[in-house]
Symmetry: C2
Subunit: 243 residues, 2 copies
């Protein structure tokens, strides 16, 4: 599995993804699931992927190849006139890759599906955050639903639902994501460090702070260990129940 979260804040976007992929429990590898493109001053794009690794790698490779050989008839990620058009391009590429893999050759028991979170900004319109489905269609984050999760989403959801605040600053948002990832990693073998972090500040039009968070990262260790204690203290602070 995988765990990726894209958060929309008043001041920008924050993305975090894990790196574990597995085909069964006896074939585990580390792959980066976060991909970025930018034209400084003009556009900054972040894509996170969950699902079949062959599918997501093919999608990213096709998007990259198109960037190298742009044509008027085929817009590319680097030339699409808006985030909406860029999301459409990714969705179509994803759908085509799945259709090709699923429709020909030997059949596999596993599906070739993948789901993606895509966010960023193209000059001239505000930042956008999308979730793209294997069918190629997509939905956009809004004030009422200000974040998307893909992959192993359930363990890390309760803290997101409760502690998310659109006005939070980036440092606090990263802390929130670390807690959400820590809850997931502790409960599920199929998600693990290192994590990739990318911050995008509204209207900056270049990728902002990014970081690879290893298991030994001091901030990560402090959050992971601190959260266990804080959670136990929070639990202790609840009123007792008379049986």
């Amino acid at each position: 599995m995988t765990y990726c979260v894209g958060l929309q804040l008043d001041r920008g976007l924050v993305f975090m993804s894990d790196t574990r992929t597995n085909a069964g429990v006896d074939n585990i590898s580390t792959y980066r699931k976060m991909h970025t493109w930018e034209v400084p001053g003009e556009r900054s794009l972040v894509l996170m992927t969950a699902g079949n690794l062959a599918t997501t790698q093919a999608v990213v490779s096709l998007l990259d190849e198109r960037n190298l050989a742009p044509s008027d008839r085929n817009p590319t990620l680097l030339t699409a006139p808006s985030m909406f058009q860029a999301a459409r391009l990714i969705g179509e590429t994803l759908r085509d890759v799945i259709a090709t893999q699923a429709g020909t050759g030997p059949k596999a028991a596993a599906t070739f599906n993948a789901t993606m979170i895509f966010g960023g900004q193209v000059k001239g319109s505000p930042p956008r955050l999308y979730m793209i489905y294997p069918e190629g269609n997509f939905i956009e984050a809004q004030r009422d639903t200000p974040f998307f999760q893909i992959g192993e989403t359930k363990y890390g959801r309760p803290i997101l639902v409760r502690a998310y605040d659109p006005e939070m600053d980036f440092a606090r948002a990263v802390k929130l994501l670390m807690v959400s990832f820590d809850s997931t990693i502790r409960a599920n073998l199929s998600v693990d460090t290192p994590l990739d972090l990318q911050v995008y500040e509204n209207d900056r039009l270049e990728l902002g702070y990014s970081r690879r968070i290893e298991n030994t990262d001091p901030d990560w260790r402090a959050i992971s260990e601190g959260w266990s204690d804080a959670l136990r203290r929070a639990f202790d602070s609840l009123p007792d129940i008379a049986l």
Copy 2:
């Protein structure tokens, strides 16, 4: 869906189940998923069910009917010589019901599967806690895996993993289960109050404290609202991250 948890403590067993059943999102009902049997001084049994409601109701009805017409060749829940034999009886009944429903008549898109948590004590041996699979086989809780969850298990797992302590008293265990259920209910429409609670104290051989917890229950409200605040305070108490 459903959410049920059975906890094994040093001093006994604690069971909690929700009551929401749904066939799609437009057909939602309240059904008790916790069933108990006892022969005071001799045995106390608790069964919680998740999965196809027709299957679980049929299993419980068959178990009850057998109790009314016992025979030497067919042991019943009230005469099985051990918890192991009682679990076997439930497992066989479950497997037979699923096989009957799945093998005949019109085919349904939904499966007829169900999973169950079964615990209690029969005089002469220690209390036991089992998870019973649709195939009829089952596993027993041990010191390393001291609780079972069925249904919508992921949202409520992180707090169980972190705050469970085999030495905790019943009041604290109930508080822990309430937090775990609250996390699940807030994140998922398919689990909801009222909740059923049953406590069994080792070697008492009669069912102990039980309670139906409505949404308006003062303890439940205190935990549910207190947990939001406590969680936010816990989050605030974590060290800040420098980006």
